[in-house]
Amino acid sequence: METIMHNFLAESVYMGVILTLGTYCMGLWLKKITGWALVNPLLVSILLSIAFLWATDTSYESYSEGANVISYLLTPATVCLAVPLYEQIEHLKRNYHAVATGITAGVLGSMTSILGMVLLLGMDHQAYVTLLPKSITTAIGMGVSEELGGNVPVTILVIVITGITGNIFAEKFLRFVKVNEPIAKGIAIGSASHVIGTAKAMEMGQTEGAMSSLAIVTSGVLTVITASLFAQLA
């Protein structure tokens, strides 16, 4: 019985999708009944899915065969961020100086703080360049890390953790540091926690979402340009 079950899980096409959507729905439900910020549907879904695969001894390959149908939509969904950006373009035009300076400050602040902490904790050059692109969107970050000689799987891991951190804490943290202009909130979230954070910004409001989308594109490209200069500093 157990082997039949095990083989079925390994071969099922829908298992990955069911697991992903099912655990995500559980996350939504848990968030609703507890109301805690830490009970984030994305985080709950990731942890429960890992736990399920581990408990049933199912390989990641058989899970991802089905689940990749879901992540396949990631590129088209990211492309769609152009829509809120277009609809909020007037906000951007009126606040061009603030937005451009804010994103630049975010990119430089990111790399400077990583440099400082790497030196402080005595980590090596490879760890440094692995961390450098941590605030930008995964696909750009991977490229930057690879070019600088970083450890690409670790870069992806820290990028995803960065995004989830932003997604979970952005709303509370921004209130705590008294950032309450919608434009500034959006720029802060997009610069610090790329697409995963932007998903949260979209929930917070149209302006927040649009500015966050803009910050992903701009900070990503700015990081590509400046990371190789920063890489020589440690």
């Binding site: 990955g16 992903t20 959507l21 655990t23 990731i46 689940a67 879901i70 939509l73 990631l74 590129t75 088209p76 969904a77 990211t78 492309v79 769609c80 961020l81 152009a82 829509v83 277009y86 603030a98 937005v99 804010g102 975010g106 602040g109 990111s110 703080s113 760890a127 961390l131 941590k134 605030s135 969107t137 696909a139 750009i140 991977m142 490229g143 690879e146 799987p153 670790v154 992806i156 820290v158 995803v160 932003g166 997604n167 943290f173 540091v177 950032v179 202009e181 434009i183 500034a184 720029i187 802060a188 610090a192 926690s193 932007t198 979402g209 910050a215 992903i216 594109v217 490209v221 590509v224």
Partner: protein, 125 residues
């Protein structure tokens, strides 16, 4: 039928983004080229938002769940950070908040500063 056309248009932009990513020598992903192209198409009135409204809204709202499969795949990267996971985790968390504060404050300061200056100008006139 309308939604099929909407999805088709969006996938077309993703596809052209993919082509640019393949042809151009920059480490910029297909999705970023796609955003820029879709934005230009809307701005130049080649495309109306109404032509992709429902599907694009649905895709954006469903975005978080799309990150679950790649994140689950990261269990295999654990081997790479086992020796100094605490340092990596600390830097990752700390810098996220640092960047959020720096970008947020800078943007907000300038918005408020310019707004006050405009008020001042109005008063002086």
């Amino acid at each position: 039928m309308r939604y099929v056309i909407q999805l088709f248009i969006i996938i077309c932009f993703s596809f052209v983004g993919e082509i640019l990513h393949e042809v151009l020598p920059f480490p910029i992903p297909a999705s970023i080229y796609g955003i820029v192209l879709l934005f230009l198409a809307l701005e130049l009135k080649v495309l109306k938002v109404a032509q992709i409204r429902e599907v694009s809204t649905t895709l954006i709202i469903s975005m978080p769940v799309m990150f679950v499969p790649p994140a689950v795949g990261l269990i295999s990267s654990w081997e790479n950070v086992r020796d100094n996971w605490a340092e990596y985790l600390f830097i990752t968390l700390a810098t996220t908040f640092v960047v959020m504060a720096i970008a947020g404050w800078t943007t907000q300061w300038i918005i408020i500063w310019r707004r006050n200056r405009k008020k001042q100008e109005k008063r002086n006139n």
